[in-house]
Symmetry: C2
Subunit: 345 residues, 2 copies
């Protein structure tokens, strides 16, 4: 007899598992004392390049929280860094690009990614983690728009002014950039799938800065290329961004199995926008977790009910775990989510 | 015979003026060379306290652009600064609070605002500007949530973690803070109305960081108190925030005549959410203006058509003018908006 299919994968393909699966974006990382102890003297990009260490960091939250999936400890800038774009992840700030992209000539800095040669440590991390894990492992990549925004702005941005200026003013360069980044993301994800990840998430974290028209014209085709490429492998896909309430229909239609929703849009509102054919993922405000167990239970109960009303649901935060988070509240939350499911079946 | 009512005021009360009125958030300020020349050696808060200078800055964009309204040159932190909260406006960053609010004891730092004594320069600026202006003058205040977020975070924030933690963990202090800030905003706006402003805008710029439930519970009552208080004066009210697609219905229902919409939500989508009884304001992405005249015309034409399909519409950007903006493109845009109106009637 085969072991039962993991709840996360059941939900991702649109069925209702015996309990609601739960994991947390950024569950591995700064909020865990065992992570801070491990990564005392190394930069994030250095830690990612040490498979033993990266695999251990990937496993830590599964052991501590009992979540239904691990997510690879890596970063969306790893592939571009690996092909020679100078990038540093500055603690408390995010990725910073040494020489931001300014125009067509910068396209030459993006050669194709050869994952086995450029990011062998990622594939080795997956192999090590898979040997230890008894839950699915999620691989991921940055979507072309979000990665482009770092390359062009040079770091995190509030307004995405330079990115939009390039998009509007130099469409040939923009579309060439999107295509190059789509091929890089797709190559990375394909290699992760070949190495053993059970699902992938495409992070278009900042797509919510765009109007629907601009998303449809300038971003969607490249993301679709990535998602459809992975769809051909049969591996479940999650498509996620922040503040994407107006884009959910387009982001779901880009070719995904699961659509991530942040807390600004309730799952009850998201459901009719994307339709029944998708699994919803989300969407507790990470700031609620800081308010303690009572507030977390109250909001989680509402979200679980809205998820159940929709159908397939993967519980998650609406964005990454905040560094100030008390891990004890997340441990309790996982149990709360699992108990809710049992009560409902 | 009375002169015709200004288009902005016609639209604000729900009628269709002879041409679409247009103004720009942050039209006075950093993007204008004549502003940079005037304010060479003073801080923003110092400039605001010099009525001759502040009135001149208020008038500059009306002269240059031919917009249908002036907006008072001031800042949403002026009232709290005037009652003794240490605050500095750091160029390129925004308001920074010397000692951020942490809990109940900080409530003592918010005494009632007595506008005639605390901010006489604001009222004098209005008097001077009104003598020169032949278009309506818009006064404004920061909504309680957005001002609170600066007081608590100590400056601009991406996550509003501390603000939400106080909101969730200490409701008595939170509601007392909202009430105090609502009374300060209302006192300031009433004094501006008495001094002669023709309309007011309540800036809840960061309300879009909240879920609808949290907005309804923790923010809406205080904003409603401000808006209804001004409603009693008969002065038209504009209610604005960024990324508020999911909150538009609530923000309109808070008691306003005009509802501001940023570019993330098309006016076509906003229209059914708020209903026909409101004038829409917006919503060109300020980044589009950086792309030049052609891109600006194309997007403005779409927005004007969506506004016309709704009914009353005040053209504006979806957020403030970016510092890098070419003023020539805005001059052209005002003419484009005015011509569209003529073609449609």
């Amino acid at each position: 007899m085969n072991p039962p299919e993991p709840p996360l994968l059941v939900a991702a393909r649109g069925d209702i598992p015996s309990q609601v699966p739960v994991w947390f974006m950024r569950q591995a990382g700064r909020s865990l004392p065992e992570y801070r102890a491990l990564r005392a003297n190394e930069s994030i990009l250095e830690a990612i390049q040490r498979p033993d260490l990266a695999a251990e960091i990937t496993l830590q939250p599964v052991r501590r929280y009992g979540v239904d999936a691990a997510i690879l400890f890596s970063d969306i800038v790893v592939p571009v860094a690996a092909i020679g774009v100078g990038v540093e992840i500055v603690p408390g700030r995010g990725p910073v690009i040494a020489e931001p992209f300014r125009g067509a000539s910068d396209l030459l800095r993006l050669r194709p990614l050869i994952p086995e040669e450029d990011t062998p440590y990622v594939l080795e991390t997956i192999a090590i983690a898979k040997r230890e894990l008894n839950v699915p492992l999620i691989g991921f990549a940055g979507a072309p728009f979000t990665v482009a925004s770092y390359l062009i702005e040079g770091g995190p941005s509030r307004t995405f002014t330079r990115t939009k200026a390039l998009m509007y003013n130099d469409e040939p360069t923009w579309f060439a950039l999107m295509e190059a980044l789509a091929e890089i993301a797709l190559a990375s994800l394909r290699s992760q799938v070949a190495a053993g990840v059970d699902a992938i998430q495409l992070f278009d974290s900042w797509a919510g800065a765009l109007s629907r028209r601009d998303y449809a014209r300038y971003v969607l085709p490249a993301s679709r290329h990535v998602l459809e490429g992975i769809g051909a492998t049969g591996t479940p896909r999650i498509h996620f961004g922040v503040g994407t309430g107006e884009l959910l229909e387009l982001m779901a239609g880009a070719g995904t199995d699961v659509i991530g929703v942040d807390w600004r849009t309730s799952l009850a509102d998201a459901s009719p926008r994307v339709g029944r054919g998708y699994c919803l993922q989300g969407n507790l405000d990470p700031a609620v977790v800081l308010a303690g167990v009572a507030a977390t239970h109250r909001e989680a109960a509402r979200i679980l009910q809205e998820g159940a009303d929709h159908g397939p649901h993967i519980f998650n935060l609406g964005h990454g775990v905040l560094p100030e988070t008390d891990p004890g509240v997340l441990t309790d939350l996982v149990e709360f989510v699992h108990n809710f499911a049992r009560a409902a079946t």
